[in-house]
Symmetry: C2
Subunit: 370 residues, 2 copies
C-alpha cells in the first residue's frame, strides 16, 4: 500500500465540485486543538460567514461535523417527534430521502408527489395543508440535485406558515448558487452541503435553525433519538466563545477549508456568486443546444448550477462518461432513479462554474459524441 | 474576515495529536468524485489498512464519515434495541457517554462503576453478568481518554462471551497505541478515532463489526433509529468495488489523509508503533517524576499514550496551561469531571509521541513551574 496520488479531474458532476486551490491549501495548515482559543475564534468567524451565506441572523447557524445527509438527519431527528404529521414534497431522490428520515423518527409522512424533473406544485402543497390541518411540518428540497429542478422556497414557506406549519428545507445544492434568503423568507430549519456551490471539500453540513424550530425542539416530550446530532448539546459546543462545552472533536482541518470557502464567498459577494452561476449556465446551455442536446427541465424551473440533459439517442451512458473521464479527466454525473441511463447531470457549481470548464466540457462532448 | 492561519502548536493533549506533514499534504491533494474509480480503489485500500490496524479480517471495517462520537453512536444505534439490557462499565467520561447512548436508543443500562483513574474490575463485570443473565451486550472503554487508565479488553470480552453477551469496545485512544487484537480477542464491535495514535486529522471514525454483531443487527425487530448511521445502508457503500451503492458523499480529502496515516502505520509496523508509544512514555515518566510530578493512575493500569498527572500544589491549572500555550505553543490537556483543576493530561500519541516533543514538554514545564 502506497501513498495515494489522485488523478487531477475536472469535476462537473452533481458534487463534489472542483475545490479551489486556496481551500485545498487551507486544509493542509497545521492542526490545532479543537479547544484552542485560536480555533474557537475561527469557529466564531465561520458562524458569521455562514450567516452571510444563508442570509440570516439565526444564532443556531453552524456546520454539523458530518456530510449533508447528517445535516438532513439533524433537522429531522430534532424536529420530528413520534406521531408528528409531516408533509413532504417529493420530486426527486432527495425528497424521497426526507421521507425516509421522517418515518425513521416516527413521524407520519404525507407525500406530495410531483413528476421528477418538475418543480413542486404550490397548489398540491396547499391542498395537502388543507387536508391535514394537524400537520406540523412541511419538508421540501429547494434544488433537487437528482434532477436539476428548482422549487419556490419562498412561497412554499409562506403557505406552510399560513397553515401553522414550520418548514425544513434542503438547500444542499442551492446555497450560494440560487437565491436563498433564510430570514426574509422566514425559513425555520435548513441544511446544506459544502461541496456544491461553496466548492469546499465534502464532510460537513451547514445548518441554520430559527426561533420557531428551536421552540419546537424545546417543547419536545420525547428524547431526541441521537446523541451526536442532539442540537441541545451541539448548541453548547457552537455557542458563544467562553461558554463552549466539549461535545465532540471538531473536524479541524475540514473547518479550515470551509472557513476559507466562506472568506472567498464574502470576497466575491453572494449576489455576484449567484450571477456567475446564472451567466455560466446560459453559456453552457447555448453550447449544448447548438449540439442538439436537450434539457430535461423546463427553462423556468432549471437550476443554473445543475444541468440535467437528455443523453442523445444512440449513445451509451456509461461508455461516454468513462471516455470523458479517461480521455479528458472530466467527470459529469449519471442520472439517478428513473433517469438512470437517460440523463446526464452537468454541474456548474462553485469553482467549477467557470468559462474554461464550460469550454472543456463542450469540446470534450463534441469529441466523444461523433 | 480573512484567511485563517493557525498558530503552529505542539499538540500534547488528549487529541488531536500532531498531524504528520505527510498527512497534511495528502489532505491538500485535488478532490475527486466519491464515485470515481480511483477513489473507490483508495477506499478498498483504506479498508485493508484499517483491517491491519484493528488486526481483523472483518469485512465490515471502515471509517464512519463523522468524528469518534458518531462511531460510538453507529455501534449503539445499530446494536441496541429498545428493551435490551446492556452492561456498561464506567470508569471515566467516555464510559458515561456510552451509557447515554444506551438510554437514547431505548436500552436498559446496567452500570458497573469503578473509580475514575482505575481499571475496570473484572470481578464486578462478572458479578453483573451473573446477576443479569438476560443482558445482551457488555460495553466498555479500552483506554479511558479522560483518565489515562487502561482496561483488559481481552478478558472482559471473554467474560462477556462466557455469558452470551456481545461486546462494544471504545478504542478511540488505544488504536495503534495499545495492544488491540480484534480477531484474536473476538471483539464484536469496536470504534475508534483518527486523531489520537494514528495522528490523522479529526473528522472520521474507524469501526469494525464482527459476525456476531452483524447477526444481532440483522435480527432486529425494530428499525435502526438513524438513516445516516444505518449499517445496512453504509455497508452497501463501503462494500466490494463494483457493487457500491451511493449513500452519502464521502469526506474525500479527509480520507486521503487517513489513507496516508494507514500507509505510515504499515511502514512502521503496528508492533513498532506500540513499542514507540511505550518507550516514549517511560522517558516522559522519568522526566516528570524527577520533577516531583506524580501520576494519577497506578503504574500497571497506565496508558503510555495518555499520561494523567497530578497538578503540583500551589499552581493554577488554567494559568499554567495558558502559559505553556502562549510561551511555548504547547498544548496539554485539562482534567475532566472530578479531575478538573486537579489533573493534566499529557498525550504522547502518534506523531506527538517523539523525543523532541518530550524534551519540549519537560523543559517548558520546568520553566513555568518555578
Amino acid at each position: 500500500m502506497k501513498s495515494f496520488n489522485p488523478p487531477v479531474r475536472t469535476l462537473m458532476g452533481p458534487g463534489p465540485s472542483d475545490v479551489h486551490p486556496r481551500i485545498l491549501s487551507a486544509m493542509a495548515r497545521p492542526t490545532i486543538g479543537h479547544l484552542d482559543p485560536a480555533f474557537v475564534s475561527m469557529m466564531d468567524e465561520t458562524k458569521e460567514g455562514l450567516q452571510y451565506a444563508f442570509q440570516t441572523k439565526n444564532q443556531l447557524t453552524m456546520p454539523v461535523s458530518a456530510p449533508g445527509s447528517a445535516g438532513m438527519e439533524t433537522c429531522f431527528a430534532n424536529l420530528v417527534e413520534p406521531g408528528d404529521k409531516v408533509i413532504v414534497c417529493i420530486n426527486g431522490v432527495f425528497g424521497g430521502r426526507m421521507k425516509e428520515n421522517i418515518t425513521r423518527f416516527g413521524g407520519e409522512a404525507i407525500v406530495v408527489n410531483d413528476d421528477w424533473g418538475t418543480t413542486i406544485s404550490l397548489d398540491k402543497v396547499e391542498e395537502a395543508l388543507k387536508e391535514n390541518p394537524d400537520a406540523k411540518i412541511v419538508a421540501f428540497v429547494q434544488a433537487e440535485t437528482s434532477t436539476g429542478a428548482w422549487s419556490d422556497a419562498k412561497r412554499i414557506t409562506k403557505l406552510a406558515h399560513d397553515h401553522d406549519c414550520i418548514v425544513i428545507v434542503d438547500a444542499v445544492t442551492s446555497l450560494a448558487g440560487s437565491k436563498l434568503m433564510v430570514d426574509e423568507w422566514e425559513i425555520d430549519a435548513i441544511y446544506s452541503g459544502t461541496q456544491k456551490c461553496l466548492s469546499a471539500m465534502p464532510g460537513i453540513s451547514p445548518i441554520s435553525i430559527g426561533e420557531r424550530a428551536i421552540k419546537k425542539i424545546q417543547s419536545r416530550t420525547t428524547p431526541i433519538p441521537s446523541w451526536f446530532l442532539d442540537l441541545n448539546l451541539v448548541m453548547g459546543y457552537w455557542g458563544e466563545g467562553s461558554k463552549r462545552t466539549y461535545h465532540h472533536t471538531a473536524p479541524v482541518n475540514t473547518l479550515y477549508g470551509f472557513h476559507e470557502a466562506l472568506v472567498m464567498l464574502m470576497e466575491e459577494g453572494i449576489e455576484n456568486s449567484r450571477k456567475r452561476h446564472r451567466e455560466n449556465h446560459y453559456i453552457l446551455r447555448d453550447g449544448l443546444e447548438s449540439m442538439g442536446i436537450n434539457f430535461l427541465v423546463n427553462e423556468d424551473d432549471r437550476l443554473p448550477q445543475l444541468n440535467s440533459v437528455m443523453i442523445p439517442e444512440g449513445y451509451d451512458d456509461a461508455e461516454i462518461r468513462t471516455k470523458l473521464l479517461n480521455e479528458f479527466n472530466l467527470e459529469i454525473g449519471a442520472g439517478l432513479g428513473e433517469f438512470a441511463g437517460k440523463v446526464w447531470r452537468i454541474g456548474l457549481m462553485g469553482y467549477s462554474s467557470r468559462k474554461s470548464n464550460i469550454e472543456l466540457c463542450l469540446s470534450a462532448l463534441r469529441s466523444v459524441l461523433k
